[in-house]
Symmetry: C2
Subunit: 353 residues, 2 copies
């Protein structure tokens, strides 16, 4: 197995990317293509007394780099020699089985969708995020931004992707409880997309239990909640931001008195444990499910441990043969009449975009 790592993506690249790759390759003996500006990568390795000798790490030169503010089209069309684009191509060509990037999320998503491409049986890949929930388990929200203006059939496929992710990778349920994000519990509540998707989900062999509300992302009553990528992305960014702001507001209040400050000092270990639990980005990153190879997009703040975790996470998808399982699930869980209509509808979907 080889994983193509975008060596230049992320706030702490390339040093943390190099270190993460070295730790990962030493521990697992799994191969890593470290993609980036070759001279800079070699220079950093030397400067920090690191070594890749004897490790299954191969440096692949990529003269360009995608900046955080650049648009996906730059990554796709203008900078075809960027670390991200070349890492994606290694997967498309079958030289690597997985792609990992901590760079520009929008660009990485486009590389996954258009350079690596959709897996067999899938029209639109979807990004999944596993939120920690009240029951100590995780709730997967899919899609959190790979698509906007999704159609009912896309949500149907997101549900199967989420099911497969929970069952094969997270291992938190054998028969994941699936919901669709809406604004009321009862069938019939929601917007047009929800009303049109609900009957399709009911037709599948998925463990579909109905509408989920915003609060259900954290209740633990659902293992997977599907939604359009616009809504999912807004929810993800709201939740990330609110989590941080609550901690900041608590800090501010605490600083107002000495007694509170002493209290906070005593609480520190508990707060740290909590922060770790609540950090959605602790879990190696978010997989873009439904691409030809594994595609993991991790946070820009990724340090060496996060890069190592992302590489490990990617290797699990390969080890569990995720895409084969996904295709099996599509064929087993979606009734044939819905599978058949695929081609016609999708030509319509792309015209209508």
């Amino acid at each position: 197995m080889y994983i193509a790592l975008d060596g230049m993506g992320g706030d702490y690249a390339p040093l943390c990317n190099i270190k993460g790759a070295i730790e990962f390759a030493s521990e697992t003996k799994i191969g890593v293509y470290l993609v980036g500006k070759k001279d800079i990568l070699l220079q950093e390795i030397k400067k920090h007394n690191l070594s890749i000798e004897g490790l299954p790490i191969e440096i692949v030169d990529a003269p360009e780099t995608i900046q955080m503010h650049e648009s996906p089209s730059v990554a796709l069309r203008k900078k075809r020699n960027s670390s991200m684009h070349i890492a994606g191509k290694l997967v498309r060509e079958g030289k690597a089985q997985a792609f990992v990037s901590a760079g520009n999320t929008g660009a990485a998503m486009s590389i996954g969708k258009f350079v690596i491409g959709a897996a067999e049986g899938i029209e639109r890949p979807g990004i999944a995020v596993a939120f920690p929930n009240k029951k100590g388990s995780r709730t997967v929200l899919i899609d959190v931004g790979a698509n906007v203006d999704s159609r009912p059939r896309h949500l149907l496929y997101f549900a199967v992707m989420g099911h497969t992710y929970v069952k094969e990778i997270l291992g938190t349920s054998d028969n994941p409880k699936i919901g669709i994000l809406s604004i009321g519990e009862e069938e019939g509540k929601g917007n047009e997309l929800v009303k049109d998707t609900y009957p399709l989900l009911k037709m599948t062999k998925l463990n579909f239990i109905g509408n989920a509300e915003g609060r259900d992302i954290f209740t633990g009553d659902f293992d997977v909640i599907v939604c359009d990528g616009f809504v999912g992305n807004v929810v993800l960014k709201t939740a990330e931001s609110l989590g941080m702001i609550i901690l900041e507001m608590i800090k501010e209040e605490v600083n107002k008195s000495l007694v509170s400050r002493i209290g906070a000092a005593l609480m520190l270990p508990a707060l740290k444990r909590f922060k770790k639990k609540a950090d959605f980005t602790e879990y190696g990153g978010a997989p873009l499910l439904g691409t030809k190879g594994t595609c993991i997009i991790t946070h820009g703040r990724a340090d060496e441990r996060a890069i190592k975790n992302a590489l490990k996470f990617a290797s699990e998808f390969v080890n569990h043969d995720f895409n084969t399982k996904l295709l099996e699930n599509i064929n087993n869980l979606i009734p044939p009449e819905l599978l058949k209509s695929r081609e016609e509808e999708f030509s319509g979907a792309f015209n209508g975009q």
Copy 2:
């Protein structure tokens, strides 16, 4: 001025509703129609040694009550003699200037939209919630659930409603910064609705500063963020739930050690201050903007203080002549060519629903 209070709506009704009305009327001398089962209301007043004598409170009999689980259509069509429906009618008939309910939110919204009805110049009322933000001010999100599948023109009107709310009622800005909720900062990012609304907002005299992301609900960079009610409702419920769950998780972690518990005890006053700051429902409730009278929907958990706050909040809209200002703003801030096309588009919108 008279405010029609749903006397039977909310977890602590009717006692807290009665107490809230008494405190409000004593303090402000503003009239309250206390609507509900007359015998029960009188009985409660007697039982708790309360008195409405000499206060501008009038009990209006309503033999039916809307339960929390009942659908909006029950409130609208089946139980026309419910406290909520009759309170709404008092506003429609001009006997009261404002409506306040802590009951079933969906039902109260329908009473606002269809019994009280849209204000002059408005096709679709929208619910606004004022989130506390990082800059110590508030950010208004509108619509958080009065409509789904909104069209660009609806969002345009929500923007003017939000502008008027911030300027006239919250008083946090003279020239509110308006944004549209999307999944990227740059113009051109978003779903179809956002892309179609953006140019309309640019044509207005509003202080429109572009796309806002989920995180911007809390950054304080925007005074008003407009969105479709489906997205807004999901965001609101996610945020409310996450806030509570973070506090619970902190509590759980803290309980794991004695030292942490001592720390927490010392931090308690700070945590309480924080909780108050972060409680979106502290602010009297959420106004359904754009109805003929003022319409305030407050939380089901409303106690007597919250009911009193909701009544005060409602009276501010009346005192500031909110609907007149709103109509002025519509005519002054929206260019005439967009106002003109209203009728045609709306016949289309309602057919398409």
